[in-house]
């Protein structure tokens, strides 16, 4: 039996007359019992018709509803052949039920075993590794207008009868769709749980729409009823054809992989370097790391991020620089520790320009640890310095005694085209100098992240002050630079 009350009778009658399908009638009666939607709609229709005729028998004197008795029987006659073959509804087209004026057939033909098979076939074809499936459906914006029209239609009646009902109480088409389809899809997938996510990840179809669904919903919220009724039939008009499913798309949630990388090459950019649409340098750190990961996770793409970045001609030594990579739509997502280690080996064997350590799967939340406080962290460098004037060993020893030197850096000319012009104070915590020959020495620096080392050395047209030229009272230039450490304690180290 349908969980309907006597007060619902006039509404059921009205909706049947208007051309609503059985399931849409349940929706407007705010039936939230899933089983009621799952039973074959032909049965539901029969039950609804029986429910009304019961009214007519008991209240045949009620003159308020004179027409219904004629219509439903004729409909029932039409329906009978369809009921005999629930799956192959198309057997007898003439006998097929009319397309619902509200859901355009979405809760009719589109909501059955054949559609569930289509969905599960699409999922199976992708060969995903997964435990649960979230079923989402993207419906045409037009549906909101029909729903609104139908709501106005019953609202009039409902008000007269003194019934209270709010539009938000009406079960949404997509909810009913999910209640019906989840079980069917789960069965087809061999018992995989199909779950509903509240606050769902909506997979909006990027149709070439004139109006987005949101725009339509907003407009419907604003428009006064009389104005709406002037421009749109109420109840909605009978559609000539039903809604047809566009496609089934599968998406696996991103997997995040983190680690640390070394860069041993002075002609390797961190990310692809493109100038005027033309590629400079053949590879990049992110591509070298991504290629084996994409293959192993069978992912469609990736987003690379890291704790800062080094210039193309700078090496990153020591423990390396923390990085994280979001793998998009991975088809495989479970890797144990040994497998991750194997994957790390694969990356390391693929190139001698980079090396990766501490490779691990992390959560999206953990990734933010890398970015937060990026500026407070310290970094260590070694720079090969050239001096214009010849120097002696003792000329540079004073450098070791400099502690927490604040330098004011105007945005380097090198990056001024993409960064705002500002003077940024940065702290050089300590330095040490190692004499090489009368024109060269190695300078070690431990600095606040965000310090531009090259500019500190050559002065950037005097725009970084103080700079090494001023400290040594001669022109100085930087010939080589290595990052020795990026002091970020994430991701956690993985013992070798």
């Amino acid at each position: 039996m349908l969980p309907l009350k006597d007060k619902d009778k006039p509404m059921v009658q009205m909706l049947l007359l208007a051309g609503c399908c059985a399931r849409c009638i349940l929706r407007f009666c705010c039936v939230s019992v899933h089983a009621a939607y799952r039973q074959p709609p032909q049965n539901t229709l029969k039950q609804l018709q029986a429910f009304i005729s019961d009214t007519e028998n008991s209240k045949s004197q009620d003159s308020a509803v004179p027409e219904p008795p004629e219509d439903p029987p004729s409909k029932r006659a039409k329906l009978e052949p369809g009921v005999t073959d629930a799956v192959l509804e198309r057997d007898d087209e003439a006998a097929a039920p009319r397309v619902c004026v509200v859901c355009l057939g979405i809760l009719q033909d589109m909501c059955g075993t054949s559609q569930a098979v289509k969905v599960s076939e699409a999922v199976k074809a992708e060969n995903y590794e997964f435990d649960t499936v979230v079923l989402s459906v993207s419906l045409p914006a037009q549906l909101c207008v029909r729903e609104h029209s139908c709501w106005l239609h019953v609202k009039k009646e409902v008000r007269e009868k003194g019934l209270v009902l709010d539009k938000d109480d009406v079960i949404q088409v997509k909810e009913a769709f999910k209640w019906i389809m989840q079980g069917l899809v789960a069965k087809e997938l061999g018992g995989i749980a199909v779950v509903t996510k509240v606050g769902n990840i909506h997979d909006e179809k990027k149709n070439i729409l004139v109006f987005t669904r949101m725009a339509v919903v907003k407009a419907l919220e604003k428009i006064p009823d009389f104005k709406f009724l002037k421009h749109y039939p109420c109840p909605p008009a009978q559609p000539t054809s039903s809604c047809s499913p566009q496609d089934v798309r599968c998406l696996h949630g991103s997997v995040f992989v983190a680690g640390r990388y070394n860069k041993f090459c002075r002609s390797l950019p961190q990310t692809p370097w493109v100038i005027d649409g033309e590629r400079r340098m053949e590879s990049s750190v992110e591509e070298l790391i991504a290629a084996p990961l994409l293959a192993a996770f069978r992912a469609d793409g990736f987003n690379f991020s890291s704790s800062g970045r080094e210039d193309v001609d700078v090496r990153t030594l020591g423990n390396g620089r923390p990085f994280a990579m979001e793998l998009l739509n991975p088809h495989r997502s479970r890797f144990n520790r040994a497998e991750m280690k194997q994957l790390q080996e694969t990356i390391n064997k693929s190139s001698d320009k980079i090396r990766v350590r501490d490779l691990q799967i992390v959560t999206r939340q953990a990734m933010s640890r890398m970015k937060e406080g990026e500026e407070e962290k310290t970094k260590s460098y070694t720079a090969l310095i050239w001096t214009q004037k010849p120097i002696q060993r003792e000329d540079i020893t004073f450098i070791d005694d400099i502690k927490d030197l604040t330098v004011d850096q105007k945005t380097p000319l090198r990056v001024l085209h993409r960064r705002a012009l500002a003077v940024r104070p940065r702290v050089i915590h300590s330095m040490n100098a190692r004499f090489l020959d009368p024109h060269h020495f190695y300078l070690g620096l431990k600095t606040q992240a965000g310090t531009y080392i090259k500019e500190f050395v050559h002065g950037d047209f005097g725009r970084t002050k103080p700079n090494l030229c001023q400290l040594l009272k001669t022109d100085t230039d930087i010939l080589e630079l290595d990052v020795e450490s990026v002091d970020v304690d994430w991701p956690p180290a993985i013992p070798e």
Binding site: Q388, R419, L421, F461
Partner: protein
């Protein structure tokens, strides 16, 4: 150029300017003999306006009395301010927009021009406090201004300027003209 440095092997190694900038010149600006300007264009299109080493101010024995960025009663380059990544609010300069006027102790006055179209990002205020920077390091710390050409004009703005080679041939002709008795 500087004979003293030739002994050092590293003196021939490319400097910061050699590595990242292209040198462009404008000779005899506004028809005034030897008032040569040098524009250093970074590979990221940013331009640094400097005095060419042949500019009269840089010839031996000159001393700078004052540098004035107030180029008219109503406009001072010192008031230039840019904000944000897009550098909003900077004064827009055309080829012959004056940047500053430099007066030497012998009361000769020179005007330094933009030489290229673009947005003024900054002027060098250090040379106001230390004018000797301009004499000692005209192509680095003694720069005049930084200009950001429009993205779409970053290639075309240097079309009217002389390349290093062209400028050197101008200098060679000048030398010949000087040596010939008039």
């Amino acid at each position: 150029m500087d004979g003293g440095e030739q002994k050092d092997t590293q003196a021939n190694a490319p400097s910061v300017i050699d590595r990242y900038y292209t040198r462009w010149y404008r000779a005899d600006l506004k028809g005034k003999p030897c008032e040569d300007h040098c524009i250093l264009q970074h590979s990221n299109r940013i331009c640094v306006v400097t005095l060419a080493e042949t500019h009269p101010i840089l010839q031996s024995g000159r001393t700078i009395k004052s540098i004035n960025y107030q180029i008219s009663n109503v406009c001072s380059r010192l008031n230039n301010k840019v904000s944000g990544k897009s550098k909003r609010g900077g004064q827009f300069l055309t080829d012959f927009a004056p940047l500053c006027r430099i007066t030497c102790t012998d009361e000769t006055e020179y005007t330094v021009y933009s030489c290229i179209r673009g947005r003024l990002l900054e002027v060098n205020e250090s040379i106001l406090e230390t004018p000797t920077l301009l004499l000692e390091k005209p192509s680095t710390e003694g720069y005049i201004a930084v200009i950001l050409p429009k993205f779409e004009e970053s290639k075309s703005i240097t079309e009217n300027l002389l390349s290093r080679e062209e400028f050197e041939s101008v200098l060679a002709k000048r030398k010949v003209a000087e040596s010939q008795p008039s």
